[in-house]
Subunit: 334 residues, 2 copies
């Protein structure tokens, strides 16, 4: 039923080793032999057993994607990007959800490697920042690339966008519209991107000569509910902000909901900006001004780096983009 290299070698009249050579595109196979083998492979629709290859050789033709993120949309983008590059490379993708905060993370990763002998690993935030996980990978000499790491940037190859600059751009945009009291909702405490975005917000205020006022800044957790809570507190202030910049779209959606609930007219009474440009952003009312994060492309680029197998860590930075929609406008004159 399933055919093996032996079947192919019988048809092509060569040794199994030669078939293996053709399969692996090794040098030193004559053109004529190669063609004969390829014909036999096609005839049988032969596909080598991954298990046997893994056992005998040094490669498993599988990589793993380790993720722990609360945004399905983000994960989906990541998976799509990684997958696209894997297909091109003829490599399978193992999905490995996990808990970045768990003390067992390193052990889980060790288990994954021991069992599957994956050729490499892609880490997405916030697992990128678990040094126990990185230690484990390095101890075993498994190549890995991180997507948007928050810490130890020099430690491995990685791809990322410029969170600071993006948040700075968005804040500057709000300032340019005329806003002077700009609320900010910080992202999840575990994600370094949260700090970077906050920093970008402050930098833009500084440059514009505006005071940084802690009361206009609230902690969120990247989810809708925390966005609602933060918005409520910001809008309850005696002198509330005329614009709120949330560190991701889900929280921005929470802000919109609170504003609607209070009967505010958007964007006249309140400008709202998000971050990520998830599908959600364009499906809200009003459509959300946000930062387009090139998530899929980041994932693709990360996987590309993984296969390139560089000597020294390489970092690629992809461009973000401000997406201006109807949720931001000039503030109502005082």
């Amino acid at each position: 039923m399933r055919s093996t290299i032996k079947d192919v070698s019988a048809i092509a009249q060569v040794s199994t080793k030669t078939v293996s050579r053709v399969l692996n595109k090794e040098r030193y196979v004559s053109v004529e032999t190669r063609q004969r083998v390829e014909r036999a492979v096609a005839q049988l629709n032969f596909r080598p057993s991954a298990a046997a290859r893994t056992l005998a050789g040094k490669r498993s033709y599988q990589i793993a994607l380790i993720y722990d993120n609360h945004s399905p949309h983000y994960i989906h983008q990541i998976q799509t990007g990684v997958w696209a590059r894997c297909i091109e490379e003829g490599v399978r993708l193992l999905a490995q959800p996990s808990d970045a905060a768990s003390t067992q993370l390193a052990d889980e990763i060790g288990g994954l490697i021991d069992q599957t002998q994956v050729d490499g690993v892609i880490l997405s935030s916030p697992v990128t920042d678990s040094s126990a996980a990185l230690d484990e990978l390095e101890r075993r000499g498994i190549p890995y690339v991180r997507i948007s790491p928050g810490t130890e940037h020099g430690r491995s190859s990685s791809v990322s966008m410029d969170d600071v600059q993006a948040a700075d751009d968005m804040t500057s945009h709000l300032i340019a519209l005329g806003h002077r009291r700009i609320g900010f909702i910080i992202g999840h405490t575990n994600h370094t991107a949260s700090d970077l975005r906050l920093f970008g917000y402050r930098r833009a205020l500084d440059r514009a000569g505006l005071n940084f006022e802690p009361k206009y800044v609230r902690q969120g957790q990247f989810d809708f509910a925390s966005g609602e809570a933060a918005a409520d507190r910001l809008l309850d202030l005696p002198n509330p902000p005329t614009a709120i910049f949330a560190s991701n779209d889900d929280m921005a959606a929470g802000v919109l909901t609170v504003a609607h609930r209070r009967g505010m007219s958007l964007p006249r009474d309140l400008s709202v900006a998000g971050f990520d440009d998830t599908a959600l952003a364009s499906q809200l009312w009003p459509p959300l001004t946000t930062v387009r994060q090139p998530t899929r492309d980041l994932a693709y680029a990360a996987t590309e780096l993984l296969f390139e197998d560089q000597e020294d860590p390489v970092h690629r930075r992809l461009a973000h983009e401000l997406v201006l929609r109807a949720s931001t406008a000039a503030p109502r004159p005082d």
Copy 2:
């Protein structure tokens, strides 16, 4: 570095075969021997090579999830459910996005099986309905379970919810609120669920003695933009509907946007209902009345069925739930 069964057997003072027996929970191992082996395994933190197991035995300890769906949220729920059951079973999950409409689907699946020797496959809609895919799986004798299949229900084990009843329930709810002109937006043409939901809508109208009026029904494609387009056409009718029931939440979001754009006051001027209860539903304004589809649980149950390995096809049906939020209300009196 990596330890093998041999290392374990040396420490436990038994043959490698006995270690293998303990690992596989086979019968006929004395309690004392089992404990000795388990201690050695723990001491070495030993984990068997999946590749060697696959090659030598009949199992690969991997299953694949094949999906092709345009809703990230749905896929994420599915993955989470499948994954949860896999973990319990000590089995790895291979992610296999694919194109249900592609003529190469069967070949891709064949390749997947030949290469990885997966122990089983979970199919999610609409790949569930590709008979070429099912043929291929059966030809190779790979167990598979389908999540919400649309066709050939008897052909394999499956899990599903009652789409007809759910759509009927929602429509009845709108009727009970007092609506008489209820618009309906059909889902994607490839998904059988689309037909079932339409049927449920008609059934509820019938039972209430309301006429089915084709002009109140528009084709959508499960995405936001098609929801917008359909809503525009429905609301442009001379005698527009007072409620619109969209076959999923993304399209319902499109309806909300159109209504907002037209300056309508929701839900007074228009009631809107969705289907799925994705995260989106509660993040919109007004929060969306919808049908909670137990997607994660369906996936979990499907995976469970896969591992149970029944003789005859088994079908499990999970309950849906109407989630009533602020997007529906009684119509404005004429």
